[in-house]
Amino acid sequence: MGEADIIAKLKEGDEKAFREFVEKYRQMVVNTCFGLLHNDEDAEDVSQEVFIEVFRSVKNFRYGSKVSTWLYRIAVNRSLNFIRNNRKHRWFSSSDEEVKLKMNILKQTASDYEGNPEFDLETRQTSVLLHEAVDSLPRNQRVAFTLSKYEDLSQKEIAEVMKLSVASVESLIHRAKKNLQKKLYIWYKKKYI
Protein backbone atom coordinates (compact mmCIF):
# COMPACT_ATOMS: atom_id res chain seq x y z
CA MET A 1 0.00 0.00 0.00
CA GLY A 2 1.43 3.38 -0.99
CA GLU A 3 1.67 6.44 1.25
CA ALA A 4 -1.32 8.16 -0.38
CA ASP A 5 -3.44 5.00 -0.10
CA ILE A 6 -2.61 4.62 3.60
CA ILE A 7 -3.54 8.25 4.25
CA ALA A 8 -6.78 7.88 2.29
CA LYS A 9 -7.70 4.78 4.32
CA LEU A 10 -6.67 6.48 7.55
CA LYS A 11 -9.05 9.30 6.71
CA GLU A 12 -11.81 6.70 6.56
CA GLY A 13 -10.76 5.43 10.02
CA ASP A 14 -9.44 2.08 8.74
CA GLU A 15 -7.74 0.32 11.67
CA LYS A 16 -5.68 -1.99 9.46
CA ALA A 17 -4.24 0.99 7.63
CA PHE A 18 -3.49 2.64 10.96
CA ARG A 19 -1.59 -0.45 12.13
CA GLU A 20 0.41 -0.46 8.91
CA PHE A 21 1.10 3.26 9.27
CA VAL A 22 2.30 2.82 12.88
CA GLU A 23 4.55 -0.10 11.95
CA LYS A 24 6.04 1.86 9.07
CA TYR A 25 6.84 5.04 11.01
CA ARG A 26 7.29 3.79 14.60
CA GLN A 27 11.09 3.67 14.58
CA MET A 28 11.35 7.09 13.03
CA VAL A 29 9.02 8.69 15.57
CA VAL A 30 10.48 6.90 18.62
CA ASN A 31 14.05 7.79 17.61
CA THR A 32 13.14 11.44 17.08
CA CYS A 33 11.43 11.63 20.47
CA PHE A 34 14.34 9.83 22.13
CA GLY A 35 16.81 12.28 20.57
CA LEU A 36 15.05 15.12 22.37
CA LEU A 37 13.98 13.34 25.56
CA HIS A 38 16.88 10.87 26.14
CA ASN A 39 14.61 8.42 27.93
CA ASP A 40 13.05 5.24 26.52
CA GLU A 41 9.82 5.38 28.51
CA ASP A 42 9.22 9.07 27.80
CA ALA A 43 10.02 8.53 24.13
CA GLU A 44 7.45 5.71 23.89
CA ASP A 45 4.88 7.75 25.79
CA VAL A 46 5.28 10.76 23.49
CA SER A 47 5.40 8.54 20.38
CA GLN A 48 2.01 7.10 21.32
CA GLU A 49 0.67 10.65 21.68
CA VAL A 50 2.06 11.44 18.21
CA PHE A 51 0.23 8.52 16.59
CA ILE A 52 -2.98 9.33 18.47
CA GLU A 53 -2.77 12.90 17.17
CA VAL A 54 -2.13 11.58 13.66
CA PHE A 55 -5.19 9.30 13.84
CA ARG A 56 -7.41 12.10 15.11
CA SER A 57 -6.18 14.87 12.83
CA VAL A 58 -5.45 12.97 9.63
CA LYS A 59 -8.67 14.40 8.16
CA ASN A 60 -6.97 17.81 8.12
CA PHE A 61 -3.84 16.48 6.39
CA ARG A 62 -3.34 18.07 2.99
CA TYR A 63 -0.90 16.53 0.58
CA GLY A 64 1.20 19.74 0.53
CA SER A 65 4.03 18.19 2.54
CA LYS A 66 5.43 14.70 2.91
CA VAL A 67 3.93 12.41 5.56
CA SER A 68 7.35 12.03 7.17
CA THR A 69 7.76 15.82 7.43
CA TRP A 70 4.33 16.09 9.04
CA LEU A 71 5.18 13.29 11.48
CA TYR A 72 8.56 14.78 12.37
CA ARG A 73 6.85 18.11 13.08
CA ILE A 74 4.28 16.54 15.40
CA ALA A 75 6.98 14.44 17.13
CA VAL A 76 9.21 17.49 17.71
CA ASN A 77 6.35 19.65 18.99
CA ARG A 78 5.05 16.92 21.30
CA SER A 79 8.54 16.26 22.68
CA LEU A 80 9.19 19.95 23.30
CA ASN A 81 5.82 20.26 25.06
CA PHE A 82 6.71 17.26 27.19
CA ILE A 83 10.03 18.87 28.17
CA ARG A 84 8.29 22.17 28.96
CA ASN A 85 5.63 20.51 31.10
CA ASN A 86 8.29 18.49 32.92
CA ARG A 87 10.23 21.67 33.67
CA LYS A 88 7.09 23.31 35.05
CA HIS A 89 6.51 20.25 37.20
CA ARG A 90 10.12 20.31 38.39
CA TRP A 91 9.81 24.03 39.28
CA PHE A 92 7.17 23.14 41.85
CA SER A 93 8.79 19.95 43.09
CA SER A 94 11.24 19.90 45.99
CA SER A 95 15.00 19.49 45.64
CA ASP A 96 14.71 15.96 47.06
CA GLU A 97 12.47 15.02 44.16
CA GLU A 98 14.98 16.53 41.75
CA VAL A 99 17.78 14.42 43.22
CA LYS A 100 15.56 11.33 42.94
CA LEU A 101 14.83 12.23 39.31
CA LYS A 102 18.54 12.54 38.48
CA MET A 103 19.26 9.23 40.18
CA ASN A 104 16.48 7.60 38.14
CA ILE A 105 17.99 8.99 34.93
CA LEU A 106 21.37 7.52 35.82
CA LYS A 107 19.82 4.18 36.82
CA GLN A 108 17.78 4.12 33.63
CA THR A 109 20.83 4.86 31.50
CA ALA A 110 22.56 1.95 33.21
CA SER A 111 19.61 -0.43 32.85
CA ASP A 112 19.26 0.48 29.15
CA TYR A 113 22.59 -1.13 28.44
CA GLU A 114 22.58 -3.90 31.03
CA GLY A 115 23.55 -7.21 29.53
CA ASN A 116 25.23 -5.52 26.61
CA PRO A 117 28.89 -6.58 26.59
CA GLU A 118 29.92 -3.45 24.72
CA PHE A 119 28.49 -1.25 27.42
CA ASP A 120 30.86 0.04 30.07
CA LEU A 121 31.10 2.91 32.46
CA GLU A 122 32.75 5.12 29.88
CA THR A 123 29.91 4.62 27.41
CA ARG A 124 27.39 5.51 30.09
CA GLN A 125 29.36 8.60 30.98
CA THR A 126 29.60 9.54 27.30
CA SER A 127 25.82 9.20 26.92
CA VAL A 128 25.10 11.33 29.98
CA LEU A 129 27.59 13.93 28.78
CA LEU A 130 26.05 14.01 25.31
CA HIS A 131 22.52 14.40 26.75
CA GLU A 132 23.57 17.20 29.08
CA ALA A 133 25.39 19.03 26.29
CA VAL A 134 22.46 18.69 23.86
CA ASP A 135 19.92 19.72 26.53
CA SER A 136 21.89 22.88 27.25
CA LEU A 137 21.43 24.10 23.65
CA PRO A 138 18.76 26.67 22.79
CA ARG A 139 15.53 25.05 21.56
CA ASN A 140 15.91 25.53 17.78
CA GLN A 141 19.57 24.51 17.82
CA ARG A 142 18.65 21.40 19.80
CA VAL A 143 15.91 20.42 17.34
CA ALA A 144 18.08 21.03 14.27
CA PHE A 145 21.04 19.15 15.77
CA THR A 146 18.88 16.22 16.91
CA LEU A 147 17.19 15.80 13.53
CA SER A 148 20.55 15.97 11.85
CA LYS A 149 22.40 13.59 14.18
CA TYR A 150 19.72 11.12 15.28
CA GLU A 151 17.71 10.97 12.09
CA ASP A 152 20.39 11.85 9.52
CA LEU A 153 18.04 14.34 7.88
CA SER A 154 19.45 16.70 5.27
CA GLN A 155 19.40 20.43 5.93
CA LYS A 156 16.59 20.78 3.36
CA GLU A 157 14.45 18.20 5.17
CA ILE A 158 15.13 19.84 8.55
CA ALA A 159 14.19 23.20 7.03
CA GLU A 160 10.84 21.72 5.93
CA VAL A 161 10.16 20.23 9.35
CA MET A 162 11.07 23.44 11.18
CA LYS A 163 9.48 25.73 8.57
CA LEU A 164 12.73 27.66 8.19
CA SER A 165 15.04 28.46 5.30
CA VAL A 166 17.93 26.11 4.53
CA ALA A 167 20.39 28.91 5.35
CA SER A 168 18.82 29.33 8.81
CA VAL A 169 19.10 25.60 9.48
CA GLU A 170 22.71 25.61 8.34
CA SER A 171 23.42 28.47 10.74
CA LEU A 172 21.54 26.72 13.58
CA ILE A 173 23.53 23.50 13.18
CA HIS A 174 26.80 25.43 12.93
CA ARG A 175 26.06 27.33 16.16
CA ALA A 176 24.83 24.16 17.85
CA LYS A 177 28.13 22.43 17.11
CA LYS A 178 30.15 25.39 18.36
CA ASN A 179 28.12 25.46 21.58
CA LEU A 180 28.49 21.71 22.01
CA GLN A 181 32.24 21.98 21.64
CA LYS A 182 32.29 24.71 24.30
CA LYS A 183 30.27 22.55 26.71
CA LEU A 184 32.38 19.48 26.05
CA TYR A 185 35.59 21.46 26.49
CA ILE A 186 34.45 22.80 29.88
CA TRP A 187 33.72 19.23 30.99
CA TYR A 188 37.00 17.97 29.52
CA LYS A 189 39.02 20.70 31.31
CA LYS A 190 37.35 19.87 34.62
CA LYS A 191 38.11 16.18 34.23
CA TYR A 192 41.54 16.06 32.67
CA ILE A 193 43.33 19.40 33.03
Binding site: R19, V22, G35, D112, E122, T123, K178, Q181, Y192
Partner: protein, 139 residues
Amino acid sequence: MKCKKIHSKLIFFVEGELNENEMKEVALHLLECKECAAFVETMTKVLNRAGQERPAGEDPYFFTRLKARMEKQDEIAAPYNLWRKVLQPVFFSFIVFAGMYAGIYLGKLSFTGTDESVNDVFLFLNEMKEEPLENFLME
Protein backbone atom coordinates in the same frame (compact mmCIF):
# COMPACT_ATOMS: atom_id res chain seq x y z
CA MET B 1 48.73 30.41 19.99
CA LYS B 2 48.34 27.70 17.36
CA CYS B 3 45.99 25.78 19.69
CA LYS B 4 43.74 28.82 20.07
CA LYS B 5 43.51 29.24 16.31
CA ILE B 6 42.84 25.56 15.69
CA HIS B 7 40.53 25.03 18.66
CA SER B 8 37.43 26.63 17.10
CA LYS B 9 37.73 24.27 14.11
CA LEU B 10 38.02 21.02 16.06
CA ILE B 11 34.35 19.99 16.04
CA PHE B 12 34.11 20.71 12.32
CA PHE B 13 37.27 18.62 11.81
CA VAL B 14 35.59 15.72 13.65
CA GLU B 15 32.51 16.14 11.47
CA GLY B 16 34.66 16.38 8.31
CA GLU B 17 33.18 19.75 7.40
CA LEU B 18 36.40 21.71 6.79
CA ASN B 19 37.95 22.29 3.40
CA GLU B 20 40.91 20.17 2.34
CA ASN B 21 43.61 22.63 3.44
CA GLU B 22 42.02 23.20 6.83
CA MET B 23 41.62 19.45 7.37
CA LYS B 24 45.33 18.98 6.68
CA GLU B 25 46.27 21.91 8.93
CA VAL B 26 44.24 20.53 11.85
CA ALA B 27 45.49 16.97 11.29
CA LEU B 28 49.10 18.20 11.38
CA HIS B 29 48.43 20.16 14.56
CA LEU B 30 46.89 17.09 16.21
CA LEU B 31 50.06 15.14 15.51
CA GLU B 32 52.06 17.76 17.42
CA CYS B 33 49.62 18.68 20.20
CA LYS B 34 48.67 15.84 22.56
CA GLU B 35 46.14 17.93 24.47
CA CYS B 36 44.11 18.85 21.39
CA ALA B 37 44.38 15.27 20.12
CA ALA B 38 43.00 13.90 23.40
CA PHE B 39 40.13 16.40 23.34
CA VAL B 40 39.32 15.48 19.74
CA GLU B 41 39.25 11.81 20.73
CA THR B 42 36.79 12.51 23.57
CA MET B 43 34.62 14.71 21.36
CA THR B 44 34.55 12.07 18.61
CA LYS B 45 33.35 9.47 21.11
CA VAL B 46 30.59 11.77 22.38
CA LEU B 47 29.38 12.77 18.92
CA ASN B 48 29.43 9.19 17.66
CA ARG B 49 27.26 8.21 20.59
CA ALA B 50 24.42 10.27 19.10
CA GLY B 51 24.43 8.08 16.00
CA GLN B 52 24.52 4.88 18.05
CA GLU B 53 21.64 5.76 20.36
CA ARG B 54 18.68 4.40 18.47
CA PRO B 55 16.41 2.72 20.99
CA ALA B 56 13.62 1.71 18.62
CA GLY B 57 14.29 -1.89 17.72
CA GLU B 58 11.61 -4.48 16.99
CA ASP B 59 8.59 -4.00 19.22
CA PRO B 60 5.62 -6.19 18.23
CA TYR B 61 3.45 -4.91 21.09
CA PHE B 62 3.75 -1.19 20.39
CA PHE B 63 0.52 -1.06 18.41
CA THR B 64 -1.32 -3.10 21.07
CA ARG B 65 -0.24 -0.64 23.78
CA LEU B 66 -1.16 2.29 21.56
CA LYS B 67 -4.61 0.84 20.85
CA ALA B 68 -5.20 0.19 24.57
CA ARG B 69 -4.28 3.78 25.36
CA MET B 70 -6.62 5.12 22.68
CA GLU B 71 -9.50 3.01 24.01
CA LYS B 72 -8.80 4.20 27.54
CA GLN B 73 -8.82 7.81 26.37
CA ASP B 74 -12.13 7.25 24.57
CA GLU B 75 -13.63 5.75 27.73
CA ILE B 76 -12.59 8.79 29.74
CA ALA B 77 -13.68 11.20 27.02
CA ALA B 78 -17.22 9.74 26.59
CA PRO B 79 -18.75 10.88 29.91
CA TYR B 80 -16.77 14.11 29.67
CA ASN B 81 -18.30 14.85 26.25
CA LEU B 82 -21.82 14.19 27.59
CA TRP B 83 -21.09 16.58 30.46
CA ARG B 84 -19.60 19.21 28.17
CA LYS B 85 -22.21 19.09 25.44
CA VAL B 86 -25.45 18.51 27.35
CA LEU B 87 -25.23 18.68 31.11
CA GLN B 88 -22.95 21.71 31.31
CA PRO B 89 -25.26 24.10 29.35
CA VAL B 90 -28.29 22.79 31.29
CA PHE B 91 -26.51 23.30 34.61
CA PHE B 92 -25.38 26.83 33.81
CA SER B 93 -28.80 27.82 32.40
CA PHE B 94 -30.40 26.54 35.61
CA ILE B 95 -27.98 28.63 37.70
CA VAL B 96 -28.72 31.77 35.66
CA PHE B 97 -32.51 31.33 35.96
CA ALA B 98 -32.29 30.50 39.66
CA GLY B 99 -30.22 33.67 40.16
CA MET B 100 -32.75 35.78 38.28
CA TYR B 101 -35.68 34.34 40.24
CA ALA B 102 -33.87 34.84 43.55
CA GLY B 103 -33.11 38.46 42.61
CA ILE B 104 -36.76 39.20 41.76
CA TYR B 105 -37.97 37.50 44.94
CA LEU B 106 -35.55 39.40 47.16
CA GLY B 107 -36.46 42.66 45.42
CA LYS B 108 -40.13 42.09 46.15
CA LEU B 109 -39.41 41.30 49.79
CA SER B 110 -37.48 44.52 50.41
CA PHE B 111 -40.27 46.77 49.00
CA THR B 112 -43.18 45.35 50.97
CA GLY B 113 -43.40 48.51 53.23
CA THR B 114 -45.28 51.76 52.22
CA ASP B 115 -43.64 54.95 50.99
CA GLU B 116 -44.58 56.72 54.26
CA SER B 117 -42.65 54.28 56.37
CA VAL B 118 -39.65 55.04 54.20
CA ASN B 119 -40.15 58.77 54.77
CA ASP B 120 -40.42 58.13 58.51
CA VAL B 121 -37.07 56.56 58.53
CA PHE B 122 -35.43 59.29 56.53
CA LEU B 123 -37.24 62.24 58.18
CA PHE B 124 -34.50 62.98 60.65
CA LEU B 125 -32.01 63.25 57.94
CA ASN B 126 -33.76 66.39 56.65
CA GLU B 127 -32.71 68.80 59.39
CA MET B 128 -33.93 71.87 57.51
CA LYS B 129 -37.49 70.66 57.85
CA GLU B 130 -37.16 70.03 61.60
CA GLU B 131 -35.09 73.11 62.42
CA PRO B 132 -35.46 75.81 59.76
CA LEU B 133 -32.54 78.20 59.45
CA GLU B 134 -34.74 81.21 60.26
CA ASN B 135 -35.51 79.86 63.74
CA PHE B 136 -31.86 79.55 64.41
CA LEU B 137 -31.19 83.17 63.41
CA MET B 138 -34.08 84.48 65.46
CA GLU B 139 -32.63 83.16 68.71
